[in-house]
Symmetry: C2
Subunit: 352 residues, 2 copies
DNA sequence: GACTAACTGGGAAGCGCTTACCACCAGTTG
DNA sequence: CAACTGGTGGTAAGCGCTTCCCAGTTAGTC
């Protein structure tokens, strides 16, 4: 049954016919071709296209030109403000460059990520941007790398948003440095005993932030007790759960709780409250990322600011970036843009 | 200079050659074609594809088949949790159906929206989902409608996520009813004098929520004073600004502030605080949407729950939905799915 | 004024893939 | 055993578009 009546879409051919010119001329008139077309013809074509409601078939163009206008973005979870803010930046930059963005979700699952990259390759995007990918020692890591290299060899560009991703262009997030700076500034505020809500041990982002935090404490001769670290999902609920666990295990002497992401920090704060502790008053709390909402919560959250939208924009620019010298064999170039990270002190960490 | 060295991607032809079969056989072996292929051949092809790292070119497939596997999603602002949560739902549903999602941002600008729909049409997506679109009396409205109808006539499907969008399939958000229910439950809690942070007057969503709220009050013989309504952007900053303005104009007798979206409510709460008022204690506050964060803020926000992820999923299902009877001329069918909306009472509105 | 140069249409090949359509080969069947 | 089926490869014609290449025209040049 279906809906029937599918009037096929208007094609360039229809336009050429209507304008009484050849296909070639029509094509040349409608998109910035190098070739000039007599104004008389051009106008006739443009007019016909207008009248018929012609819309060029991007796919056909892509096939004919052998190049697309697509940018693929892989994120762990688009409903997470961290990623959606980055996505916003990518989309902004892409749209202003006339590119279309395709978003895929990997759910922080290496297997899924690999599969997604494969599938996305079928779209022959100009650029693939991977955010929230870890390149940790997962078994799929090598495959991923191979897949991406192959993609680059076919002329694609890859950009990571990450703390390090050796052979690919990367917008470098200095998670370790940021966490370290945070730790130091907390110590300076008078905090002395810390607990951490960390992500899954395999996630490099979490590892780095944890390690950086440790480094910062160590610089002041302070230590982070192993039993004051809880590993959990990189989500609000994970944060809640981990904080609850920590609380149960005993947090008596702890005066500051650091969650390795803002989203987790928010969950943790709720857990504290549910346990009768007031964040900021009974216990300092700090996060990481500076997602938009955390300045509006109470107490406003001390965190490490990453200019997320900018990161998204930069990633795209980087991918198209400077001619990478290093020509010859694939290896698009492992250029890198560092991103300035900054500790933002708010009400959740009053001076002690 | 560029990067040179672009080993062209492996094509089906290469695979066919390597497997020593014809192009047709290769094609038939690699994707569920109706035709059967001798196992001997099939395995040879599959094996060759594997070895060469063949990845089918989606665009070429699309051109050849005349049908794509793309879903286009238009949102006002992807970094807004409202939209990113919906997007998450759409992406989930799409991926499990083997479809790829393309996201475009309209910034709540009708002109941009129209342009985007046009551009997206070039992708010949199977479905276009429009969220946060208003179909209010904007001058572009007719054009949009025409564009979308044309899209449907060419075999595309359109789904709106909205409060009403006459000629297209719609996941119906009962903004009016939700706001009305909210108002009534607030009255029941003892609130008597209200102020509203509304969106731009042209946005239907805002109009409806405002009107519904009014209706709810009216049902109890209460009124909403004109000077207790502030119109502003549909953003956190808009909410902050509007609340500040209201405060300045005098809010003495008001005991509840309703913001027509949670994001705005969050901004408004910050404004209240900055003015020395404690939300929930000095003044009740309510929002709309139930975005994930609002249960974690303090005080947790009373709001109207929309199952956003589900809405996204539903939108996609609806678009593919039931054979729409109504065949014949275009008009994919203006079927509709209502979404259950529910008042969630939290700490920002203690009983008075 | 003959000859070259510079333009600009159009024809047609081809991008990577699907899918009629045809051919061929067993395997029936009376 | 001839005519006939059903099944399965291959051939080739597209899908909508770009672009190479050729040819015709006009403009320049000595």
């Amino acid at each position: 049954m279906e809906s029937g009546a599918n009037k096929p879409a208007v094609t360039l051919n229809d336009v050429a016919l209507a304008a009484g010119v050849s296909l070639a001329t029509a094509s040349r008139s409608l998109n910035g071709s190098a070739r000039k077309v007599n104004d008389t013809y051009r106008l006739r074509v443009v007019d016909a296209a207008q009248r018929l409601g012609y819309i060029p078939n991007l796919f056909a163009q892509a096939v004919a030109k052998g190049a697309t206008t697509t940018v693929a973005l892989l994120v762990a979870d688009i409903s997470d403000p961290y990623f959606s803010t980055i996505a916003s930046g990518v989309i902004q930059a892409a749209e202003s460059a006339g590119l279309v963005v395709t978003i895929a979700v990997t759910g922080r699952n290496p297997e899924r990520e690999l599969a997604t990259v494969r599938a996305l390759r079928g779209q022959r995007p100009r650029v693939m941007i991977l955010a929230g990918s870890r390149m940790a020692g997962s078994p799929q890591e090598a495959d991923l790398r191979k897949e991406l290299s192959a993609f680059e060899e076919n002329g694609g560009r890859v950009a990571f948003i990450s703390q390090n991703a050796a052979p690919f262009a990367t917008v470098l997030l200095d998670n370790r440095g940021g966490a370290r700076a945070l730790a130091e500034s907390l110590v300076e505020l008078g905090y002395r005993c810390f607990a951490v809500v960390a992500g899954p041990p395999t996630i490099v982002t979490s590892q780095d932030r944890l390690q950086g935090f440790r480094d910062g404490l160590a610089a002041h001769g302070l230590d982070l007790a192993e039993h004051h670290i809880a590993h959990t999902d990189f989500t609000r609920d994970g944060g809640y759960q981990a904080a609850t666990d920590l609380l149960q295990a005993g947090l008596d002497d702890v005066d500051l709780l650091f969650a390795v992401s803002d989203v987790m920090a928010m969950g943790a704060m709720s857990a504290l409250r549910d346990a009768g502790l007031e964040p900021g008053r009974d216990l300092g709390v700090a996060g990481y990322d500076d997602i938009p909402t955390v300045r509006d919560i109470t107490p406003s959250l001390t965190t490490v600011r990453i200019p997320l939208e900018e990161v998204g924009r930069r990633a795209l620019e980087l991918a198209f970036g400077v001619a990478q010298g290093q020509d010859g064999a694939g290896q698009g170039g492992s250029s890198t843009i560092p991103v300035v990270t900054e500790v933002v002190r708010r009400d959740s960490t009053p001076r002690r």
